[in-house]
């Protein structure tokens, strides 16, 4: 896995103060999966993470906008509180608009995983999750 492979999953857009990313995917589940992977790539050099442990989180929200915010916020907590970093993710759509997200990774080790920089939070500012004829797309701004 290289940075170029990550570049096909998401791209950073210009935001003066903070950090913005744009994602596109053919399906809703894939959009959220790519968002999960994008967050890991923003936090560390993902290629150095080994998939030796598995974690599962379930997020639930009425609107896809909230689902994106809540998923990324839960994942940020998984990293900052529990010290778990993931190399890969899979997403299963459940009933009641819930998402079951499986993360494969390992405990964060600052000596092995190159830390890229802190992400303070997932903002609601200009948050977009939408479906169109071209597929699903999202835009997220993180406070860094």
């Amino acid at each position: 896995m290289t940075q170029n492979e990550d570049a096909t999953l998401f791209r950073e857009f210009e935001h003066t103060g903070d950090l913005g990313i744009e994602l596109a995917a053919p399906t809703r589940a894939e959009l959220f999966r790519r968002a999960a992977i994008a967050l890991a790539s923003l936090l560390v050099e993902r290629a150095r993470v080994t998939a030796i442990e598995q974690r599962e989180i379930i997020v639930e929200a009425e609107a896809d906008l909230d689902l994106m915010h809540d998923l990324l916020t839960e994942l940020l907590a998984l990293f900052t509180v529990e010290g778990f970093i993931w190399r890969d993710a899979s997403v299963k759509e459940e009933a009641d608009r819930a998402l079951r997200v499986t993360l494969r990774g390992e405990p964060f080790d600052p000596t092995r995983h190159v830390f890229r920089g802190e992400i303070k939070a997932v903002t609601y500012h200009q948050l977009v999750v939408e479906n169109s004829a071209d597929g699903w797309r999202s835009r997220v701004i993180f406070d860094v």
């Binding site: 210009e14 950090l19 916020t73 509180v81 890229r116 939070a121």
Partner: protein, 478 residues
């Protein structure tokens, strides 16, 4: 966006749409021309829609595009009738700056800069994936930090009475409510006391290379060639999570209060509502954590200097000049239309800058005006200013907070390319110790406005006055 010139350094966005007051931006003509199509101006207008906003939705000359509020934004809101907005404080609650003077002269330590930088780098953890200098606190003890702020540091031997006296609010909001901070926020913060963080946070050692006001400088114990230490950090994960938790509650509650705003990140509820009171109690608790955090890092830096130079505290002479917060909401009395009113002043990337004689300023420097600390871009310079009487009339006692970004992080990384920024900074006389190359690239000096220009606007507008310029020689980054 339509802009009217009020004077050479002040521009007005006339009311339109849902704006309750006009917007006003402090900037030079050159700066405002660069801003005309910037989303930050729309954000100034959006903030003007907040219920209870008084006077103007203000922006300082380091204004740039934030989330919800612009960075560099100030909104004073009626404490009885108005709202509180977590977005007007930001995720990094009580992000702020402290400036410490020493008895060292740059000429005497010039050959030991690398050792000093190494010692500071080792002494002050970034707080990511590693235990801080303070071992992980149990939750009841952490709650005492949230209740007591910098007083907790003093009780543990990390602070003196003089340190507290020279900290905004004496390093403690009495209204803090640790029980309004969620368990997740506590867990995020419990290993981060005494840690710097990453992003634009840093510790900078500098020498005074220019003094603009000898009288004030002398009263603050400053002279040319003197070594100073500036620490820029905040409330770490505890504050970030606190903002996020309450933003969610407030976002869901605001429709019940009939509040509709153009940006969800501006979510706000009445100050007197249960949600508003809970946020303010939690915000004050997180702010107390931040004051304690900066205080502990000051102590860690003091020890690192003493060990490296093999000198004692008297020879080092570490003394806090002042500690300011630049992401906060505070209840303050201001005169509006000849009447004194209690306002909740939101400063999002703006520094309190009270004028001479204000009782909130430490007695020893009260007549000078409040010290205002403006960190630069880790390459050029930082500034020490003092607040002016005019700030009380025009900006609710507020000034700028830093250089202000002009370049996105993505663009900064692109422009840094394969450049050796460490060597480039070394050639400018700045030794950098950072945990990652990316953080240096994203924060390279060219990513920021020239802070001298920002400070110049504040001085020309009569809001705050320059006292001294600080030239960095060692910078520690997370």
């Amino acid at each position: 966006m339509d802009l009217l010139r009020v004077h050479d350094y002040l521009w007005e966005i006339p009311r339109f749409g849902e704006m309750r007051v006009p917007g006003r931006i402090y900037a030079s003509e050159r700066m405002i021309n660069e801003l005309r199509d910037d989303p930050a101006l729309t954000q100034v207008a959006n903030v003007a829609c907040l219920p209870g906003i008084v006077g103007y939705s203000l922006a300082m000359p380091d204004i740039h595009w934030g989330y919800g509020f612009p960075i560099g934004g100030v909104a004073a809101i009626d404490a009885e009738e108005g709202v509180v907005s977590p977005g007007g404080v930001g995720y990094d609650i009580n992000c702020g700056v402290r400036l410490i003077r020493t008895r060292l002269r740059f000429a005497d330590i010039g050959d030991r800069i690398a050792q000093i930088a190494d010692a500071l780098y080792d002494a002050i953890p970034a707080g990511v994936g590693s235990e801080g200098a303070i071992p992980g606190l149990e939750i009841p003890e952490l709650k005492r930090v949230l209740r007591d702020g910098a007083n907790w540091a003093k009780a543990q031997g990390y602070a003196t009475a003089a340190d507290l006296e020279h900290t905004e609010e004496n390093g403690r909001f009495a209204g803090a409510d640790p029980d309004a901070v969620t368990e997740r926020a506590l867990l995020r913060g419990r290993r981060q006391l005494g840690t710097l963080g990453s992003g634009n946070h840093f510790l900078e050692c500098s020498r005074i290379d220019e003094i603009y006001d000898g009288e004030v400088a002398s009263a603050l114990g400053l002279e040319l060639g003197q070594v100073n230490v500036l620490i820029h950090s905040g409330s770490r994960g505890l504050g970030h999570q606190t903002c996020d938790d309450h933003l969610r509650i407030i976002g869901a509650a605001m429709a019940r209060y009939g509040i509709h705003l153009p940006d969800r990140q501006l979510a706000a509820v009445p100050i007197k509502s249960p949600e508003g009171r809970a946020y303010l109690g939690a915000m004050m608790a997180a702010a107390n954590f931040a004051w304690c955090n900066r205080q502990i890092m000051m102590n860690l830096a003091e020890r690192a200097f003493m060990q490296t130079l093999a000198i004692g505290p008297k020879d080092l002479g570490f003394a806090l000049i002042y500690d300011v917060c630049h992401n906060i909401a505070k209840f303050e009395e201001h005169v509006v239309d000849d009447k004194r009113r209690l306002l909740c002043v939101h400063r999002k990337g703006a520094t309190r800058a009270f004028g001479p004689g204000h009782p909130s300023i430490p007695a020893a420097v009260r007549d000078l005006g409040q010290p205002v600390l403006i960190p630069g871009d880790m390459g050029r310079y930082s500034f020490l200013l003092v607040g002016q009487a005019r700030a009380m009339r025009e900006t609710f006692g507020s000034s700028c907070h830093g250089a202000g970004r002009v370049m996105s992080r993505a663009r900064a990384k692109r422009e840094a390319g394969n450049r050796d920024l460490y060597s480039e900074l070394a050639a400018r006389g700045v030794t950098v110790r950072a945990r990652g190359r990316a953080s240096v690239a994203e924060e390279m000096p060219a990513a920021y406005k020239d802070v001298a220009e920002v400070v110049e606007v504040m001085e020309a507008a009569g809001v705050s006055r320059k006292v001294a310029r600080l030239k960095p020689f060692a910078v520690i980054k997370g």
